[in-house]
Each structure stands twice: as structure tokens, then as C-alpha cells.
Subunit: 416 residues, 2 copies
């Protein structure tokens, strides 16, 4: 298997100002064509550091991909480091300049063409992959059969460059093994017990199948990665192992293919032609967002309500004022009435509701931070549960609760 | 300034399955106490690789923090590598075991205590920081005045360990410089023009103040980082530089302190006692989620509606059926009516609406993917804008549009 090393260049990552999402995307795309990322370096924008890291990276990787350090401002030094590392010089590339010119013209920004002209300067030995969504081109260098690609750092520019240009190039260039991945989602068993339960199965896995444990909230994803030169064989082999695994964890498996819980939900709702709506308080829109982040969700997600203020819960979702007064707004009863009102408002088979205190301040009725009640209503049946997650930060709390609600719904639907 | 190196251990990052958010959090917390992260290594869970990376890390850092590789399953090898690297042995630590026992008891999970017992085995020379939100303890090792901390990989466990235990420890241990950061948010000037415009100012900055350009969507954040031993002086110095900067970018600055656009909005709305609501289509809840992710947002955010289905837009938001038929659902007119209906439904000063096609499939009326209309309504005035972002993936699109809507609103409020 070809090995890749990623280098993320930029002080904005080291300072904690920006999360590096590029590495994640690139690693995942490479994995799909059977290239394994063995190491990721995140370094600062200094010529010597970049050169030194390129050297280390080429010692272990056949392929090095750098992101960042190619913008038009003064703190970008990647191109210089690249030229020095490969004993090359930087010169204006006419094709790249014409591309840049066309790019600027299309956006009515010819006025800044001169100022951005240096973006068309590249190492003379480089092969340029033009950037259709930004001004910094991607440069490929080759030496002793090893490749480096240098990309800008903006994720919106990285994604199409990788997906549409670099991946197809690599597929043709290398003669790659096939990779087949399956993910089995297990709920209701702690990781350590799960490991014990399936130990013998795991030890007996064929050598070309690797297993990883990926805990996500209260769910554990078991990932099987099979590699080999016969795609059909790989699929059969993986399916075979999964069939051996399933009886060991009976009643705890919520999916055997898809990865994200919202995608698993999408499959079930689409197949069964069910519609869904949401009524959120403490999750503040995250639950709706998670559901709608799946392409095609408009087929089953009819709408959602973020009823933050109590009087909106009463007015729009038909929550009774008495219930609020008697049980407080963060209560089982209010969650139930929200779900019921939501189902009626949007006229859906399923409705989900959340009410709780995301913190860090206490709720208006003094309920403790981290408490949440949520109701899952399917036709005329409903289940209400309570979670208490005081240690989560606000955004993590919103995310964790939304994941858990969808996961519970999937569990309900799968077992009904 | 003390230098830190972070090591992220785990194949789930290298495989692109999980985004490394720990490094971001740790780097940002360390920066606040004046410790600079100079490098981040992401490596696989192999003893030799971990040892080799520890060696490299200690060559440049005074402080090394590792995350990951401490779970109860078989693919975790960090502890072994740690003991070998520091010429130490692993033994049961009674205090840690008692902590683990209490942790399990509190959760009614004494049944799995034995199975998790090995989590209480630590290198004998280590100082243990107990983990209150998980079973793997944090271990500190010291050698030649340099420190290493090894933490589990779960973000919910990392955050409190860093914030409540490690940061206070480091503050006391080292005699640290003060760091003062200011962020000036600039809109409406491309990065390259901005760089030209403020070049002379940038070149004249004092040596102890560093400037970074951080582009986020269509906004550029200028970050000034000042370091020194007198906190008051630093603040004055930074303020002084910002006062020199402001006239150079007049009319383009939307904030001079806060970082995130939703936090900037929070300050303005709180100060002016304005309330807000949202009516979303293509952003699917992301806009509401972004606004509610700020602590205290329940004071100004009264509610939101995700009206995915067209008939819900008509029924709940009072969008006229004729308007939809005449102009299609993705139109300026529908965005306007959604904002108006939303303002009435939630009775707020401000309402925001979005309608568009997030893709990748075409919208029901054949509108092109990436098209979105959004209306910002403040009292009786409204502004409707169009965006066309065909190159963004679904989730990025939802996020970009939401950022842009809030940014435009802030721009409107600041300049009114």
C-alpha cells in the first residue's frame, strides 16, 4: 500500500484559532483509493521548518501533500521552501497566469490582477493543477519516483482540487489495491465489554482485514478495513466476517454499513416512507441541522421549530401553560407536549423534541446545567428519556444530545 | 516563551474518520497562558513510532502533550511507549485505582471494574491527574526540567483535564509572560488588497506584537498577539496599534475584539436589547444553531423555524401561495415573505430568512444548486441578498451561508 504524509502549514492551526479539517478530508479521500496516511505534521510558516519537514516526510512517504502557506499575504513561505527543497527556481507560468486572469475576469476583479500576479509564479519543474475556486494554484513536484502536491489552505479550495484532480491522477499513476470498508454501529455495550465479547472473533480475522474501535458518544463504531487486489472477493470476505460478528452482539447493532447516525436514519426513513419533524429547545437547531445535513433529507424532513422562549413553546407548539407551571419547562411532560405539538404542526409520522439547560448559566427555573428531556414520538407512541451531561461544553452538549436522540430513534425503528 | 509540542495518537485521525479537535482546544488554551505550540504530530498507535516522536518532540519543546491511545481496547499502546521512553515500569497505582472504583460505583458499573483495572496501571515515576469524566487517567512525566502529559483521546475528557488541572498547574510551574490577543474583523476587502492597504502599519508594528491574517468565508480576521511581562502595558500597546489601524480600513471593520461572528452579534443584541428569530430553508437549522451556540443567547433568540417543505412555509410562515407559484420557492420574494412571517410569529425586532438549494441534487423547481436568497429584516426595514456558491459541499454550504447572513446583519447593525 502506498504511504502518504500530510503537512499542514500555518500558524492559525498551531495557535488554536482554526481547526484543521483539510487533513481529515484528504486522509479520508486517500483511504478510499487505498493510500494510507501514516503521519500528519502541523508546522509553522517558516522556510527552514517547511524544508526540514519535507525531508522527514519523504523518508517515510511515497507521497507528500501540503496544505496552507500559499495565500497572497506576507506570511506565506511555502513556495519558496518548495523551490529550495527541490533545487528549483520560481518563475511566472503563463498558463497559470492566464487561468488567474480568466478567474479574476469572471468575478469582475481585474483591478487586483497585478496584485495577485505572484500567485502565478511557481517552481519551474512543477506540474500545475489549476485552482477553479481560488487564486493559489496546486503544484506537483516529482523526484525519485516520489510525489509532492502543494495546495492552498482554504477548505473550499482543497476539496475540489483533491476530489476532482488529484485523486483521479493518483488512481491512474499508481497501481493500487482495492480497499473495502464496513462500519458496524453498536449501542448499549461499553467499549471494554464489547472488546471482551468479540475478542475471539477479532483474533481470528484474516490478515488483510483490520479492525478499529471508534467510540462516538454512547455508540461504538467497529470499522473493518479489508484490502486486496480483488474487489468482489473483498466484499464477500468482509460480509462473511460481519455475519460471524452479528450473533455475538445481537440486539445491540443499529447499522452494518453506514457511518453517520443521520445517514443511517436517512436510509430507514426513505425505505419506510416516513416523515419527521423536530421541536428543539436546548439543542437550538443542531438536531434539525444534523438531519438536514444529509442530501435528500427534504424528502422526509418536513420542518423544525426552535422554540427557545417558553411562550413560543406555548403559542406555537401548543404546550399547556399549566404543564409548564406545574412541572417547569425542563421536564418530561413539556418534552412530551412539545413532541405532540410538533407532530401536529408539521403533520409528520415522527416528531422529536428536546428541552433542557445547555449552560453554562442555570436555566430560568433553576434546573441544573446539563439536564435534558427528550421525546421520540412515532405515530401514536412515544418514549421520553432524560440525559444528564453536566461536563459538556455548550456546543458539545447540543451535538451530543442531538446524536443521542437520533441514535435512540434509529434503535426504536430498527427493533420495531 | 515556553514551547509546546502536541502529539495526537490514533489511527482514527490518520484514516480520516475523526477530526482532531483536541489539538485545537489545547493549543488555544496554552496560547492564553503564553505557551506557544510549535508543532503538532499526528501518528499511529505503534510503540516505536510513539517513542520516536516523543524524542523528536522533546528536541524542540519544553512541554509535550499527547492525546489518545489510552483506552481499554487492544489497539492502545501509549502507556507502554511512555514507560519504555522514560526507562520506567508500569505498576498499579492505588490512588488511581480507588478513583476508578469510585467512578464506576457512582455510575453503577462495578461489574466492569476488573475489566478496567489495567487503566489504573501507570508508569511508576508518573504524577497522575485524575480523570473525572472517563476511566483513563492523565499521566505527567518529568525529565531534565521538561514535562510530558499523556491524556486520553476523548474530547469530553480532554477539555476538563486541560482546563481545570493542567493549565493551572503550568501557570504555577512556569514563570510565564502575559499574552494579549485582539482580533479585528474586516469585511468587504479581499485579503490581498487589505495586505497592501495596511502594509506600512504592519511593518511598523513593535517587535512583541505579531500579526496574522485569518480569512473566514468573506471576512478577514486580523489577529494581533502581544506578549510581554506587563499585562496592562500590553493592553495599552495593542489598543494603540488598533487605533492606528482603524482609519486605514474605515467602513470595513465589524468588530475589534471578539472572534466569532455569532459572539459579535451576541454583544450587539445584548447591548441594544434587540430580539431575533430565524426562518430557514436551505440552512436547515444551522443558522439557529450558530446563534444559540453562544451562552446567554436565550435572552435575545426567541425562536426559529426550519420550514423545509414548501407547504409549511405557506402554513406556518404565511408565505403566499401565489408568490411561490409566480417566483418559485427559491426567490427574493419568498425570502422576504419568510422573514416577515417569522418576525410576526416570534414577535422579534429582527428576523432572518434563508431559501435556497444546498445540493447536491437540484431543487424541486429546478433552481441551480448553490443558489440562496436571504433576507435580513430589522423592524420595518429589510435587505434581501443572493449568494451563489455551487462549489461548496452541503454542510459547508449550510455553514457558509449562515456565517454570511450573521455577518451581514452585524454589518447592518454596526453601520446604523
Amino acid at each position: 500500500m502506498e504511504k502518504a504524509v500530510l503537512i499542514t502549514i500555518g500558524d492559525e492551526i498551531l495557535s488554536g484559532n482554526t481547526i484543521d479539517t483539510n487533513s481529515n478530508f484528504i486522509a479520508s479521500e486517500l483511504k478510499n483509493i487505498g493510500i494510507k496516511v501514516t503521519q500528519i505534521f502541523t508546522i509553522s510558516d517558516e522556510i527552514e521548518t517547511i524544508k526540514k519537514t519535507l525531508k522527514t516526510a519523504f523518508e517515510s512517504g511515497d507521497l507528500v501533500i501540503t496544505t496552507g502557506g500559499l495565500g497572497p499575504t506576507r506570511d506565506d513561505k511555502t513556495k519558496k521552501a518548495l523551490a529550495e527543497f527541490f533545487n528549483d527556481e520560481i518563475a511566472l507560468d503563463e498558463v497559470t497566469f492566464n487561468h488567474l486572469k480568466a478567474y479574476m475576469e469572471k468575478r469582475g476583479r481585474q483591478d487586483i490582477l497585478e496584485r495577485n500576479k505572484e500567485q502565478a509564479f511557481v517552481p519551474t519543474k512543477s506540474v500545475v493543477f489549476q485552482n477553479h475556486f481560488g487564486t493559489a494554484p496546486c503544484m506537483m513536484m516529482e523526484q525519485n519516483g516520489k510525489l509532492s502536491f502543494s495546495l492552498p489552505g482554504v477548505p473550499y479550495e482543497v476539496k475540489p482540487l483533491i476530489k476532482d484532480q488529484i485523486i483521479p491522477y493518483l488512481q491512474e499513476k499508481f497501481n493500487l489495491n482495492f480497499i473495502h470498508t464496513r462500519i458496524v454501529s453498536v449501542v448499549g455495550i461499553p467499549e471494554s465489554i464489547l472488546a471482551d465479547t468479540i475478542e475471539n472473533w477479532e483474533l481470528a480475522l484474516p490478515e488483510n482485514i483490520a479492525l478499529s474501535y471508534l467510540p462516538v458518544g454512547t455508540r461504538v463504531k467497529l470499522r473493518l478495513t479489508a484490502s486486496g487486489d480483488n474487489e468482489e472477493m473483498l466484499k464477500l470476505q468482509a460480509e462473511n466476517e460481519i455475519q460471524k460478528l452479528l450473533p455475538l452482539v445481537e440486539g445491540h447493532v443499529i447499522a452494518v454499513s453506514e457511518d453517520k447516525i443521520e445517514t443511517i436514519l436517512a436510509e430507514i426513513l426513505t425505505e419506510r416512507k416516513l416523515t419527521i419533524s423536530t421541536a428543539e429547545s436546548c439543542t437550538g437547531g443542531e438536531l434539525a441541522k444534523m438531519i438536514t445535513s444529509v442530501s435528500g433529507s427534504s424528502k422526509y424532513f418536513l420542518g423544525g421549530m426552535v422554540a427557545y422562549a417558553t411562550d413560543k413553546k406555548i403559542k406555537i407548539l401548543n404546550v399547556s401553560k399549566d404543564t409548564v407551571e406545574k412541572f417547569t419547562v425542563v421536564s418530561e411532560q413539556v418534552a412530551q407536549e412539545m413532541a405532540k405539538g410538533c407532530q401536529q404542526l408539521f403533520d409528520t409520522h415522527i416528531s422529536l423534541s428536546t428541552t433542557g439547560v445547555a449552560g453554562p448559566g442555570k436555566g430560568e427555573d433553576g434546573k441544573e446545567v446539563g439536564t435534558v428531556f427528550y421525546t421520540i414520538r412515532v405515530n401514536n407512541q412515544e418514549v421520553t428519556s432524560k440525559l444528564y451531561m453536566p461536563h459538556l461544553e455548550r456546543v458539545d452538549f447540543m451535538n451530543f444530545v442531538s446524536q443521542k436522540v437520533i441514535q435512540d430513534l434509529v434503535g426504536l425503528l430498527v427493533n420495531s
